[in-house]
Amino acid sequence: MSINRVLKILFKDFSVGPRKSFFIWALIMPFALTLLFQVTFGSLFEPKPRVGIVDFGNSAVTTAVQELEGFEVSILDYTDELIEMVEQHDLDAGLILTAGFDEAVKAGEKPKLDFYISGESLASNRIIISVMAIEQIRELEEGDPPVDVQMVYFGEPGLPISIRLVPVIVFYALVMAGIWVPSSSLVEEKERGTLTAMMVTSARLNEILAAKWLLGFIFATFLAVVTLLLNRAFGPRPLEVIVVIIVAASLTSMIGLLVGLYSKTATMLFTLIKSLGMFLFIPVIFYIFPDWPQWIAKIFPLYWIISPIWEVSIMGEPLSSVWFELTIAIAITLILIPLLLLIRKRAMV
């Protein structure tokens, strides 16, 4: 095998790649998913109570509410706007603080509270916002509460859904680049006859396959790294994360090569990726739903790469803690090589 020829084929693939739709799609997908999951689904699964405030008197309550964790606070200029937003359920509740409100509370005048709740707001959100509003107004009285409340926490703080969705995005980066790109490139060469054309040159089939594998590997590594950076999920051990990604990209590119070799046409490739995709995707779901029995995920091959990525990048664990998973992933990659050699004749179909 000539390294020089492998690199030449690889360079050709990279130079014509940006013109290919599958290449562009693989590049766009992780960015699009990051945007979709972080912005859209991040707020869909864990919506915070949304409060609107119209403050006519620079009340200390407004500042205090803005500083609270766990609320989405909107400061509005007009009462009508606030009422309309509450009515439309664009806000869960709205508070109108009249001029001199703080002074009236401090003087014990019991001013009337203009407070509105959306009819579509959840019962829990109604309680949370009402209690919060009363608490912040009580703060104006500047006295100690007649009870001491002590908090005791158990367990680890839960991870927000936006973080639990990172494995999904990394999975897509690895699959789109590692599986989709080399397999599509191979199938396209088969369909257009350029693979046969290459075979009449001095290039060997093994060299072409090595170049396709490298194409997927480099692309998958790059996209997985970019995805983790975009999601600020590189953790405290970036170098160790890169090692894990390299192992993951090796495996997905190997699967991509197998799929590309096996598929005679683009239609067949698409069907195969569709069906195989569901099978490969299953372990990722277990990171979104940590309450599910986690042993089931271990049955599926990509668990052995998704798990180390999760542990090292998100949980900040050292590489030594995932050596077993990485060994399994490398073993799967190596086991696929004889299979690749067995079906390599399909490249010439």
């Binding site: 739709s21 562009i24 707020s43 869909l44 864990e46 919506p47 109570p49 609270l68 964790e69 766990g70 609320f71 009422i83 937003m85 509450v86 009515e87 439309q88 359920h89 664009d90 806000l91 509370v105 014990g108 019991k110 001013p111 009337k112 509105y116 709740i117 959306s118 009819g119 579509e120 959840l122 019962a123 829990s124 109604r126 309680i127 949370i128 209690v131 919060m132 009363i134 608490e135 009580r138 104006l140 009285e141 100690d144 007649p146 009870v147 001491d148 409340v149 002590q150 908090m151 926490y153 158990f154 367990g155 680890e156 839960g158 599509s184 396209e188 683009a266 239609t267 698409f270 069907t271």
Partner: protein, 414 residues
């Protein structure tokens, strides 16, 4: 001898050919069946209830807290008739949005928060505490409850606050419980103590009826499953874009359309046949899914049918635009995505609370999604829907005209 072939016979012949090509295309047949089964299965898997309550636990049980509190106050010489405010406090624990579980002791409560003990709610509304390591079986016909937070009161809490002794309440919480729930529970305890200590609210609260704006959905929130109903119907309509676009693309790529034009078939026959075929394909699948997710009612079926019809037309038109590009399989798939992704946005907006952003309303698929949403979820009538119907029809007309124009031009230039 030259025989006259009617336009309808020609259309029928093209439709038959398209149906044959479609049924031979295993990939789309496979995708169609998988999608139908997948979407219907997802619909029935998604929960049909909305968890509205903050689930919390207390120890000791309320009855013990009140009886101890009474004893302390009676011992302090406070007359019994002044203890009526205890009833108001008991009502506070039963407020809508709060689900209270009572524990005999703090150890049990802590174990329940750390999940070492499980809590089940029976159909009769009773709470059963179950030890997963014990020999006792899980209670039947009951649902497991996850406790957000637990409060351990000193038994003499009520009495102590009234007589001016500052008690300490320990709140146990899983670290994963959101800040706002923790804050609310702490506030709840403090407010209860303020009331007991005779500190009235520093503001005058308006009447409850006055402060609820819009339709009050307390206890009758729209579940995710119900919200999925219009979403699934829309997705199925959308999926057909790929199938029809591929059929048209193949005709353009393989130039079978030019071969057909040598026969008595005219371009308009081709375009009409594609329109009918695409619409029939999308509409039939949309209807199948809507039937399986039980979207049709005796009142809404004509309006829902019309909405599905408009949706089918819209995506048929999109398929014409995509198919006219005459790209290969993967190219056409990617090109379809460029149209499909923006058209998908309004369907996600349905899942979010609140009104939809103005730019989303401007998208061609918005009126269709809105109609599906309003008809299947809020039971919208013809009178409620005519604006959306007109808006949808306008978009369908624009995209359809564009689709026909582009495809006609493409066929003419082949």
């Amino acid at each position: 001898m030259k025989s006259q072939i009617s336009g309808s016979k020609l259309l029928l012949a093209i439709l038959k050919k398209d149906l044959k090509v479609y049924s031979r295309n295993t990939i789309y047949l496979f995708l169609t069946i998988i999608s139908l089964v997948f979407f219907v299965a997802i619909f029935w898997i998604v929960p049909d209830t909305v968890e509205e309550d903050i689930t919390f636990a207390i120890t000791p049980p309320l009855s013990e807290l009140f009886s101890e509190g009474r004893d302390v106050l009676l011992a302090a010489g406070i007359p019994e008739q002044l203890l009526e405010q205890f009833d108001d406090l008991e009502a506070a624990f039963e407020e809508e949005g709060l689900m209270l579980v009572e524990f005999e002791n703090e150890d049990q409560l802590k174990k329940a928060i750390t999940q070492d003990l499980e809590v089940y709610k029976t159909e009769q509304g009773r709470f059963v505490i179950h030890d997963p390591d014990g020999e006792q079986k899980k209670p039947e016909n009951s649902k497991r409850i996850r406790l957000d937070i637990g409060m351990s009161f000193p038994p003499t809490f009520f009495g102590d606050v009234v007589v001016g002794v500052r008690p300490t309440v320990t709140v146990f919480a899983d670290a994963a419980v959101p800040d706002e729930i923790r804050g609310a529970m702490q506030g709840f305890i403090r407010e209860m103590a303020y009331q007991l200590a005779g500190h009235e609210l520093p503001v005058e609260l308006p009447d409850e009826e006055m402060i609820i704006l819009g339709q009050d959905r307390l206890g009758a929130q729209i579940s995710t499953r119900t919200k999925m109903r219009p979403l699934i119907a829309f997705f199925i309509l959308m999926m057909e874009t790929f199938a029809l676009a591929s059929l048209i693309s193949n005709e353009v790529l393989q130039r079978t359309v030019t071969a057909l034009l040598v026969t008595p078939m005219r371009v308009w026959h081709f375009l009409t046949a594609k329109t009918i075929f695409g619409m029939a394909l999308a509409m039939s699948q949309g209807l199948i899914v809507l039937i399986f997710v039980r979207a049709f009612t005796a009142e809404n079926w004509p309006l829902l049918l019309l909405t599905i019809f408009l949706g089918s037309l819209l995506f048929t038109a999109v398929a014409m635009l995509v198919g006219a590009a005459g790209k290969d399989f993967i190219g056409q798939l990617m090109f379809s995505m460029l149209f499909i992704i923006p058209l998908m946005i309004p369907s996600f907006a349905v899942l979010f609370p609140g009104s939809v952003a103005t730019w989303v309303r401007a998208l061609p698929s918005y009126p269709i999604v809105n109609l599906l949403y309003e008809v299947t979820i809020h039971g919208a009538t013809w009178a409620d829907s005519y604006t959306s119907l007109l808006y949808a029809a306008l978009w369908v007309l624009i995209i359809f005209a564009a689709g026909l124009f582009v495809l006609k031009r493409k066929v003419a230039t082949l």
